[in-house]
């Protein structure tokens, strides 16, 4: 331990046990516990206690205090601290000698005090015990002290945190007690298990037979955690012993604690111990799938289908359950119910599903949203069921969307009821569009594409579609445009796409003029993505350029909403990169005459919001990276102009992005900083067009060093870090530069260094002035950039978080309180 901390500890401990001095801030105590944890993990706790006897004194003082004087925070801290020390066996014994542990964790300790009613204390007690229970001695202590019984009752604690921690500790104790005993003999019967384990199992058994749902839930939660964490052979014995009780729960009407039951069965099924087929488990799951309500079976069916090993029959049943609501929708709306055989087996559950769908709006919406979300989750997984009924799913989703927008015309009475329930339901619309988007994955039947395009267009056209629905619809359109299958022998766009695009662009134009900014924003984002992927496609270019979309996007650079301006900047940047921007003769905007660069520079210099300015710097960086025509005309002027604006920006992200721009520029002029990066796009190797001294001189003229040095002392750490990396790169690149003298005029260097020192302390008013490359190099070499880099790599609160500072804080607070007390008199 740091000697300074050791010195502060006694005072700190005495403050904690002084009833007159309350520790106001318990986050300090939490941080100190973290620190103690690292200290105890790194070395001997016993040694620590021997070197700092004040810590043991603290624990015994806490016990000696009058019950009314004990602060719950301090007590909880002490309990957790004691547990941490006792995690090491020798230290545990040392503390046991003084009966300290029994005092703290035994029945006569805080358990019986009034302060036990405070949840923090109960939580500290459990956590302390959990730390302590790491060795056989600890385990015996738990058994002897009556703590296990206390844990049983804490499972039903009013504080959810305490209840959950109690359950977890029971699992921990069970696992620990079985760890040594059962290792040698995997088939050890339950009756031969250690007493502590038997006690816990007996309690679980009793709870499973209870008539109160709460107790059953507690038992199921303990078992779920056990099977989730412990994968030793004894868990198989445990399941063999308890599975009849669990199966028996299914005989009750209604089945109690269904959520916890589902979790348990899935946890058991996931355990590698049960990789070999366990018939009873699969039978129980199959029974559950057939007897629970559709809302309850959904998560079980999904979990079953995600399992790596599972009987095929059960998988089919689970998939049938998951598809049931969609099949019911298809039947009710007189659509084909899907491939034969897929849904026939589960007709029994069908009436229950239909009942749920028709019972109330909330039940119908809840079930459909859950089903769609489950299928969306299942679709991309490698273990998703095969054959995947793509056509059925697409048709079901399309009909759901039609029910939502009121365009479906079912003839059955159930269909009409569904129509009334789902009409205008935004939640279902969103879920259906989300799922429809993912349905492009693995789609092979391109015949589905027209009906999907039709419903997406209708959704986009409908004035009733809310902004969030429109956003989802745009995303789905993007998926279907980019990933939809094309018939063999067709061009990249597929046969339906050009027609669809021609209908899509008028709708996009309308949304770009929407009075709702969210809609304008989504439309611009959609445009950006679309042109990013398809900017090179002749068909797409033709339709886009024939529309007013580029012109409208340009006009949105002046939108009153900053998010929209930012999206417009990104969209225009993208369009311009692809040569798709509007002709610059738009009336009413004199700025347009200056071209897009001028417009974006205008935004960068005058926009009052950060988002558009950030977007501009990102676009400029991309342009520079991709050698945009407007940039390559005069790259140096471009970079210098941007930096001039960025350097004074109040938004740190803009400044950081400015450094990114410089980085790209330097990579192009001096070569890649890290050519071995496996993810880097292989760019043609740049050979500096001119000798290094001249490059450096140009950099000086462009005031890149001025910018980088300023950023180095930026008050925002990411900016400083980036600047530091940049300067290191520059220093390394210029190291072999033999054309320059080792140092220029030493007085110039001294003056630069003096200015930089002032900048470092926050006085950045004075400019660096015009710099000579020699002076810059000398200044760079004299700086400890590596040291700065490692300092910046530490989190900004590393000083405040140091244990020394924490201890001082606690002491200072108390001192301040004392002063205040004195003032009162």
């Amino acid at each position: 331990m740091d000697p300074e901390c050791s010195r502060l500890l006694p005072a700190f401990c005495s403050v904690l046990v002084d009833p007159r001095q309350a520790v106001a801030d318990d986050t300090c105590l939490e941080k100190l516990l973290d620190w103690f944890k690292t200290v105890t993990e790194a070395g001997s706790s016993l040694l620590l206690l021997q070197e700092n006897p004040c810590l043991v004194d603290l624990l015994s003082h806490v016990l000696d205090l009058k019950p009314q004087d004990v602060s719950p925070r301090v007590l909880s801290f002490s309990l957790r601290l004691a547990g941490m020390f006792a995690a090491q066996e020798d230290c545990f014994e040392y503390l046991q000698q003084g009966q300290l542990l029994l005092g703290l964790f035994g029945e006569a300790g805080p358990l019986s005090w009034a302060v036990w009613s405070v949840p923090t204390v109960r939580s500290g007690w459990i956590q302390g015990l959990k730390s302590l229970a790491q060795h056989p001695g600890g385990l015996h202590f738990l058994g002897d002290s009556g703590a296990v019984d206390a844990l049983f009752s804490l499972q039903g604690d009013s504080s959810l945190f305490v209840a959950s921690a109690a359950s977890q500790l029971l699992v921990h104790v069970l696992a620990l007690s079985m760890q040594d005993k059962a290792e040698g003999s995997p088939s050890l019967k339950g009756s031969a298990w250690p007493a502590c384990a038997q006690k816990i199992v007996a309690h679980v058994e009793a709870s499973l037979c209870s008539t109160t749902a709460l107790q059953i839930t507690q038992a199921l939660n303990v078992l779920t955690t056990t099977f989730g964490r412990c994968h030793s052979p004894w868990t198989e014995v445990l399941w063999g012993q308890l599975s009849p009780l669990v199966a028996h729960l299914l005989d009750s009407e209604p089945v109690p604690a269904t959520h916890s039951l589902v979790d348990l069965l899935l946890s058991v099924a996931r355990s590698p111990v049960f990789a070999s087929a366990d018939c009873t488990l699969w039978e129980t799951i199959a029974r559950m799938l057939s007897c629970l309500s559709p809302m309850q079976t959904g998560p079980l069916a999904l979990g079953t289908l995600k399992l790596q090993h599972c009987p095929q029959a059960l998988r089919s049943q689970a998939f049938g359950v998951l598809l049931q609501p969609l099949a019911c929708i298809l039947r009710a709306t007189a659509q084909a119910p899907g491939p034969p055989g897929l849904l026939d087996e589960t007709t029994q559950g069908c009436s229950m599903t239909v009942d749920t769908l028709l019972s109330s709006k909330s039940a119908c919406v809840g079930l459909l949203c859950q089903t769609l979300a489950h299928l969306e989750e299942l679709q991309p997984l490698p273990q998703h069921p095969l054959p995947w009924p793509q056509t059925l799913l697409v048709e079901a989703v399309v009909i759901i969307l039609r029910l939502c927008d009121g365009s479906a015309a079912p003839s059955s009475s159930e269909g009409c009821r569904l129509c009334g329930t789902l009409a205008g339901c935004i939640r279902v619309q969103r879920a259906a569009l989300g799922f429809l988007g993912t349905l492009t994955l693995g789609t092979s039947s391109w015949e589905l594409v027209p009906q999907v395009f039709a419903i997406l267009l209708e959704t986009l056209k409908s004035p009733a579609s809310s902004p969030t629905v429109l956003k989802k619809a745009f995303q789905a359109v993007l998926h279907w445009l980019l990933d939809s299958p094309t018939p063999p022998g067709c061009s990249d766009l597929g046969p339906h796409t050009p027609l669809f695009l021609r209908e899509l662009f008028p709708v996009l134009q309308k949304h770009l003029c929407s009075p709702c900014w969210e809609v304008r924003d989504s439309a611009l984002e959609f445009l950006t993505h679309l042109s990013m992927c398809w900017g090179g496609e002749a068909n797409f270019r033709e339709v886009l350029l024939a529309s007013d979309v580029p012109k409208l996007a340009w006009q949105l650079l002046r939108d009153p909403e900053s998010y929209v301006r930012a999206s417009a900047v990104t969209a225009m940047g993208q369009l311009s990169s692809q040569g798709l921007q509007a002709a610059s003769d738009s009336p009413g905007h004199p700025e347009v005459q200056q071209g897009l660069v001028g417009e974006l520079l205008h935004i960068l210099s005058v926009d009052s919001e950060g988002f558009p300015r950030r977007a501009v710097t990102r676009v400029f960086t991309e342009w520079l990276r991709n050698s945009h025509a407007d940039v390559v005309q005069d790259t140096e002027w471009f970079v210098a102009t941007v930096l001039q604006m960025v350097s004074r920006d109040l938004d740190w992200e803009v400044r950081a992005q400015g450094l990114e721009l410089v980085q790209v520029f330097l990579a192009q002029t001096l070569g890649q900083p890290n050519p071995s990066c496996p993810y880097a796009v292989a760019l043609p190797k740049v050979t500096p067009p001119s000798p290094l001294p001249e490059v450096l001189r140009t950099l000086c003229q462009m005031q890149i060093f001025d910018f980088a040095f300023r950023a180095l002392f930026d008050c925002d750490r990411p900016v400083a870090q980036k600047a530091c990396d940049l300067l290191l790169f520059l220093r390394n690149k210029s190291a072999p530069c033999s054309g320059l003298q080792e140092a220029g005029d030493s007085s110039d260097v001294a003056s630069v260094e003096a200015t930089l020192e002032r900048w470092q302390v926050g006085e950045q008013g004075q400019p660096l002035g015009s710099l000579e490359p020699e002076v810059v190099l000398a200044a760079l070499r004299s700086m400890d950039l590596e040291g700065l880099q490692s300092r910046l790599a530490e989190s900004s609160d590393h000083v405040e978080k140091s244990p020394q500072s924490l201890l001082q804080d606690v002491l200072a607070t108390v001192a301040l309180l004392e002063e205040n007390v004195a003032d009162c008199y």
Binding site: C416, G420, A423, P463, A464, Q509, C513, C516, G588
Partner: protein
């Protein structure tokens, strides 16, 4: 409102019409515009031969399907309008109007337009609410008063939205988007509309939108013979506006932002396309003008002027007319047509919420609301769904509302009330006998103290007047209770009667005192003692009977 002159001027109507002030003023403007549009283009003759049924059935639809064409009338004149309006008595929200003492009528804000009202018609024990065009949306008028509709026996529900599937917010968005899109492409926008109502909200939306959409340099023209009055009237009806707009008046600021649009020359209004308008007219522009049917008014000129160019757009916002029928005479038409009907009246979801909130015992509504629209028969959500099911009616059907008048309220004069001595016969129930004169006038009933008996001392002949007054004898106490036969018999025996025989009859019992040859007939509401001229015996027996009864 628009049909009022036909009722007051052509049917012999002699009653009073009640309406709120904005209804009268705005109604006058709407009628004035209509009359102006019609009178502007006088017809030399009017065709009536087609009304002959044999000819009518040969005409194309919809003319051949029109009903009762013989009763169709010409448009009224301004004199008739003024005469009709002169019969209106102004009322304010929550004002109670007594109608012949039978019922009390109260207008309540319906939230749909300036001064629009729902009505409560109530007696002392019955309440009927009449809900006409109402809106729960936050627009310019005072919000709908729902609380006062509670505890209704019957709620008559009319005037729901004509386009239940069109959400007004979505439609306003659609309106703005299409307007901006047309203007940005260099086209003009024509909005056929009424001179009052939704136009105030549209102008407010545009006020917020035009700057953001880059439309600040585009002129908005509002052309109507009553444009000026409509824009100005809307600003002075502060007490009829929603809270936000009311509070602006105290700042003081005009409640509607169209004042600022006018001030900054962004919105210009003209009585017609002639005169100043033709000098100021600049394109591209947005024109609001009537009539929304496109059959008369200045809108006709703009349809002809702009119809040939696909750059221009006509946007229909009024739900009263089919836009396809309105456009029929102008076909073929190159200009774009957008239909975004903005109807802020209650939709079925809102009705369902309203009924849950107000909980009337019965709902009465037009037949159309009890089934889905014919074109969307599967939309079960587009009908009124309530318990008990609504009672429906058809055009011109006379309905008996499902309640009976069971009680009448009668007032008791204070001096009479003072003389009453209530007696508690059961916990919480007291009775008192009243002798009084019931005075009924204007359907109000009052109990007055009876006149004092005539002074016998005068010795004169009774006055004629007192013939009308009922005799006021000394009142005997009223009796109540029942006579337990067994106990009564025991009591008789105790008082020396013997040889008593009891017979059960259909209505009660007969107690026979054979020795005394006397018969006591005890029934539910009467007891008779029948004895042979032995008054002493009768009185003895009477007193024995009375012991079992309560007097008050």
């Amino acid at each position: 409102m628009m049909a009022l002159p036909y009722i007051t001027e052509h049917t012999g109507f002699t009653g009073t019409v009640y309406a709120t002030e904005p209804t009268v003023q705005i109604g006058r403007l709407l009628m004035e515009e209509l009359v102006n549009f019609i009178e502007r283009v006088p017809k030399a003759q009017s065709a009536s031969l087609w009304k002959n049924k044999d000819i009518q059935r040969l005409l194309p639809s919809p003319l051949k399907d029109a009903v009762e064409v013989s009763t169709w009338r010409r448009c009224y004149t301004m004199q008739e309008v003024n005469s009709a309006l002169s019969k209106i008595q102004l009322v304010g929200y929550s004002q109670k109007i007594e109608l012949f003492g039978v019922v009390q009528v109260t207008p309540l804000s319906s939230g749909y337009a300036l001064g629009s009202s729902n009505w409560i018609i109530q007696s002392h024990y019955e309440k009927v609410s009449y809900v006409s065009g109402s809106s729960l949306l936050t627009t310019h008028p005072q919000p709908m008063d729902q609380a006062s509709l509670k505890n209704s026996d019957v709620l008559v529900l009319t005037g729901l939205t004509q386009i239940p599937t069109a959400n007004p917010d979505g439609m306003v968005g659609e309106f703005c988007s299409n307007l901006a899109l047309t203007i940005r492409n260099g086209g003009n926008v024509l909005v056929p509309c009424y001179p009052s109502g939704v136009i105030y909200d549209l102008l407010e939306c545009l006020y917020q939108y035009i700057d953001s959409a880059g439309l600040s340099s585009v002129p908005f023209y509002f052309i109507s013979p009553v444009a000026n009055s409509s824009l100005e009237f809307s600003q002075i009806f502060a007490e009829w506006l929603c809270h936000n707009k009311q509070s602006k008046v105290y700042l003081p600021e005009p409640p509607f932002p169209h004042a600022e649009l006018i001030q900054t020359n962004k919105l210009k209004h003209y009585p017609s396309i002639h005169g100043d308008f033709s000098n100021d007219f600049r394109q591209p522009c947005v024109v609001f003008t009537g009539h929304p049917s496109l059959r008369f008014g200045d809108v006709v000129h703009f349809m002809e002027l702009w119809g040939k160019s696909s750059l221009n757009t006509v946007i229909f916002t009024e739900p009263d007319f089919s836009y396809l029928e309105a456009l029929a005479p102008y076909q073929p038409l190159a200009m774009k047509c957008i239909y975004c009907p903005i109807d802020t009246r209650l939709n079925f979801i809102q009705v369902s919420k309203l009924l849950k909130e107000v909980q009337p015992l019965h709902v009465v509504c037009p037949e159309q609301y009890t089934q889905p629209p014919p074109a969307q028969s599967h939309r079960m959500d587009l009908m009124i769904d309530c318990q008990p099911p609504p009672m429906s009616y058809r055009r011109a059907e006379v309905l008996a509302l499902p309640f009976k008048r069971r009680y009448e309220k009668i007032e008791i004069m204070p001096e009479l009330a003072d003389s009453l001595v209530p007696m508690e016969i059961k916990p919480g129930i007291s009775l008192a006998t009243v002798s009084a004169v019931l005075h009924t006038k204007d359907n109000k009933h009052v109990l007055q103290p009876p006149p004092r008996p005539a002074q016998p001392a005068s010795g004169k002949k009774r006055k004629r007047m007192s013939d009308d007054v009922p005799d006021c004898k000394v009142l005997k106490p009223l009796l109540s209770g029942s006579i337990p036969v067994e106990q009564f018999v025991q009591s008789l025996e105790k008082h020396g009667f013997s040889d008593i025989k009891v017979e059960d009859t259909a209505k009660g019992h007969i107690v026979l005192l054979q020795e005394a040859e006397t018969l006591i007939q005890i029934e539910e509401d009467s007891t008779h003692i029948i004895c042979d001229n032995d008054e002493m015996l009768r009185v003895r027996l009477r007193d024995l009977v009375l012991k079992f009864l309560q007097k008050f």
